[in-house]
């Protein structure tokens, strides 16, 4: 074995390209960001090669929090797999709930009562605001501002109280069921949601005054991590990351599911594709969520919240199905293959965060280390979702 090959064998798969190049390219420093790093929010490791303060190469290393969610689908019955969904992405658990129950419903040709569809829309959008709020607080925390996360948590608390009323949980919801949702909305929830929408609408301009217009934030975000639509497409980025680059792709509009085609909302997009645009897109999305919730509350029909004549042991027919929903981080897809048995034959989960993170290596090249933290934050990553 040659000397060179030996050198390449040290370290793991990801560190290999960083080894032998150093001597050739001069005085650079290899730095491990993570797996325990405050800016990676979870166990993500990024290997960066620094030339002074500038990043020459960056390589995200995944897999620290891989929990075999896809494999678990093959050993649990169809209904037993439901609680897993809330734990894939704990910040937008209801979107994952929806992607899975939607896939099974599509496979079985199960009709969902109209009231359940609207309940799903209302709760899913509340959850989306919740997710964006946490991103907002955590992103600003990355950038060195501590106060905003406290404001965000004050609002998050209200949403969690509301969702706790119907789901019983505060974070890892397991609320949707095949053919509907597990509990009906009560009057208290509806009243509380109306109040929340009215109050939160007033809070959004406050957020703008507190942070968005702030010159320090603008300095940290504007023209940082400019992502061209082509690059975003090449990596399969979706969600606010793609929309920040000016591509108005939203699954709720592009492939409407449920009752989204009956609701009036716009898909905000950015212009330059920098971190600020991704920021603005998410802020505007929260506003659109409020509009959707209001309309859905208005149109909420009476009736059953779950399809009445479901058989006890659910056995979807043979076949395969793919169902996608729009999560807070992008397109969530669930692919199921059924052999007619009591468990899925194969489950494949498409996590938007995985594609969104992949482009980080390219975006971070040539930036300052501090800006790379800003870019990483602006991608809104949830590491458990990426590793699944």
């Amino acid at each position: 074995m040659s000397q060179d090959a030996n050198a390449r064998l040290t370290g793991d798969f990801y560190t290999a390209p960083f080894g032998p190049r150093i001597e050739e390219e001069g005085d650079t420093l290899i730095l491990n960001m993570g797996p325990q790093h405050p800016a990676t929010h979870g166990v993500l490791r990024v290997i960066v090669e620094l030339d002074g303060e500038y990043i020459r190469r960056a390589e995200p290393v995944l897999g620290y929090i891989h929990r075999m969610h896809e494999k678990m689908g093959e050993v649990k019955s169809w209904v037993q797999y439901l609680p897993n969904m809330g734990r894939v992405d704990y910040l937008h658990a209801l979107a994952w709930n929806w992607a899975y129950v939607g896939a099974v419903e599509k496979l079985m040709g199960l009709a969902v009562p109209p009231r359940a569809e609207y309940i799903r829309v209302i709760t899913c959008e509340l959850n989306r605001i919740n997710s964006h709020l946490l991103w907002w607080g955590a992103y600003l925390l990355d950038l060195g501002a501590f106060t905003p996360i406290v404001y965000a948590f004050a609002d998050r608390e209200r949403i969690m109280d509301l969702l706790q009323m119907v789901t019983g949980s505060r974070l890892t919801y397991c609320y949707y069921r095949f053919g509907g949702v597990s509990a009906d909305l009560g009057d208290e929830f509806i009243r509380g949601t109306h109040e929340f929408v009215a109050d939160f609408r007033k809070r959004l301009p406050m957020y703008r005054g507190l942070v968005t217009d702030n010159m320090i934030l603008r300095g940290r975000c504007e023209e940082i991590g400019v992502l061209s639509p082509e690059t975003a497409r090449r990596y399969g980025a979706t969600g606010p990351v793609l929309r920040g680059s000016g591509v108005a792709y939203d699954v709720r509009r592009a492939e409407p599911y449920s009752v989204y085609d009956r609701l009036d909302f716009t898909v905000p997009t950015g212009r330059n594709g920098d971190a600020m645009d991704r920021y603005e897109v998410r802020m505007e999305e929260m506003n659109q969520c409020l509009r959707i919730i209001e309309q859905a509350l208005e149109a909420l029909p009476d009736g059953a919240h779950i399809a009445p004549d479901l058989s006890e042991r659910l056995l979807p027919p043979k076949g395969e199905v793919y169902f996608a929903v729009e999560g807070a981080r992008g397109k969530i897809g669930v692919y199921l293959l059924s052999d007619g048995g009591p468990t899925p034959y194969r489950v494949k989960l498409r996590a938007p965060g995985f594609s969104n993170l992949s482009l980080f290596a390219e975006l971070a090249q040539g930036t300052l280390l501090a800006d790379a933290v800003s870019i990483l934050g602006s991608l809104d990553l949830v590491i458990p979702e990426i590793d699944r």
Partner: protein
């Protein structure tokens, strides 16, 4: 000139932010100072599951031992034991009694089992450390014999502390939820 304007605008943005935090400073507390105060939304909180007593006897569970909750639980946290009493009790393995209408070549010569076999629940255990609070057991129970408790303050120092004997808890409610508010002095 443009640069000056930009700087002024930036400084003004800082002043706006400070004003917002300043106003917030004089608003009432939002946080709950736990041991002295407690949250008031436990009515919808899901604690560990608990057995529901029968309408006529608070000491007897309503459970009919149909095994549905055991089967549906994704994490297999529930285990029950039972025994048969009265007529047909000697028919043996209580597991077989679950479907008395089934006949195998080995049981064909036996007298037909009685229509209804009285069974008694010996234990109903929940391994709470595995439970994901998904609610599938509660929803699948045909007689609403289990529900979520409101016990938000369950603590323990060992894994065994979370291996709950729900039957004993039904008979002897050790930690019924306290009304919110400061604790009474002990």
């Amino acid at each position: 000139m443009k640069r000056l304007f930009k700087t002024l605008q930036g400084l003004w943005s800082l002043a706006v932010g400070l004003k917002i935090t300043g106003v917030e400073l004089f608003k009432p507390w939002l946080t709950v100072h736990y041991p002295r105060q407690e949250v008031d939304n436990l009515a919808t909180f899901r604690g560990h599951i608990e057995l529901v007593p029968a309408a006529d006897d608070p000491q007897t569970p309503r459970c009919i031992m149909c095994w549905k909750c055991v089967e549906i639980c994704p994490s297999r946290c529930i285990s029950l034991r039972l025994h048969a009493v009265g007529e047909g009790a000697e028919a043996g393995d209580p597991g077989l009694l679950l479907a008395p209408e089934l006949k195998s070549p080995y049981s064909a010569h036996l007298p037909p089992p009685p229509d209804k076999i009285e069974r008694v629940l010996d234990s109903y255990r929940l391994n709470y450390s595995l439970c994901s609070l998904c609610g599938l057991c509660v929803q699948s129970c045909p007689v609403e014999a289990i529900r979520f408790s409101r016990n938000a303050y369950l603590v323990g120092t060992t894994r065994q502390d979370f291996d709950l004997d729900l039957l004993a808890r039904l008979r002897n409610p050790v930690d019924a939820p306290r009304p919110p508010g400061p604790r009474p002095p002990t």
